[in-house]
């Protein structure tokens, strides 16, 4: 069975500084990895994905993520944080059931707080 770990419940970063939100995964076979962001009482918004190819993936709103197969990690990064980036971030992995519409397994989420 697949699993995702986000070791930090909360990450605090000063505005303008680089940010990193950590994610490690466990899955059999090649992973399909995703990052989503959730604002209060809203659905999850897709940020970026890794399926195959370059280990550095660029996504929405200036976010990027680095896939590291040997460390089974997929950390989310941004060079310069904005106050508006404050939200709940989820890392997810596809279940790879083989059915063609695999659900996602999410990590517990990391609250990102950007301080002005």
């Amino acid at each position: 069975a697949q699993s995702v770990a986000q070791p930090e419940d909360q990450v605090n970063v000063a505005e303008g500084n680089p940010l990193t939100v950590k994610c490690t995964y466990s899955v059999s076979g090649n992973p399909y990895l995703f990052w989503y962001v959730q604002y209060p009482n809203r659905g999850l918004q897709f940020l970026l994905k890794y399926i195959t190819g370059d280990n550095l993936v660029k996504g929405s709103y200036g976010f990027e993520a680095e896939f590291n197969k040997s460390q089974t990690s997929f950390h989310l990064k941004k060079p310069s944080a904005l106050v508006s980036d404050s939200a709940l971030y989820f890392c997810a992995v596809s279940r790879n059931s083989g059915g063609g519409a695999d659900g996602l397994t999410f990590g517990k989420g990391t609250h990102l707080i950007i301080q002005p």
Binding site: G43, L44, F90, G99, L104
Partner: protein, 112 residues
């Protein structure tokens, strides 16, 4: 751009009642997913459909059932509701395996 539409946005039921949640995917998306998110929890995958056929099944209770119709909208039917079913229920749609799932804003179900 069109997004995933869920209805109703809020629903209040009593124990042992039934509820039906509806999901209208983004146009041309043929794949629909259902998730349950409890307070302060991560979303838990329930079930998915591809081209109107059940595709993947997660932690969906036997009291729940779902289907995808010919126009690709989906309904989640919930019976014998329990207090623990109080949660935010999300629907997502995508263009298929490996493609991003796009989420609706959810239905908040409260069981009294």
């Amino acid at each position: 751009a069109a997004g995933v539409i869920q209805s109703p946005r809020h629903l209040i039921k009593e124990k042992r009642e039934t509820a039906t949640l509806k999901c209208y995917p983004i146009p041309r998306h043929d794949t629909v997913y259902w998730y349950q998110q409890g307070p302060g929890q991560d979303p838990q995958f329930l079930i998915s459909f591809y081209e109107k056929m059940q595709s993947d099944k997660g932690s969906i209770p036997d009291r729940f059932s779902a289907q995808q119709f010919s126009d690709y909208h989906s309904e989640l039917n919930m019976s014998s509701l329990e207090l623990g079913d109080s949660a935010l229920y999300f629907c997502a749609s995508s263009l298929g395996q490996g493609e991003p799932q796009h989420f609706g804003d959810g239905t908040r179900l409260s069981i009294l």
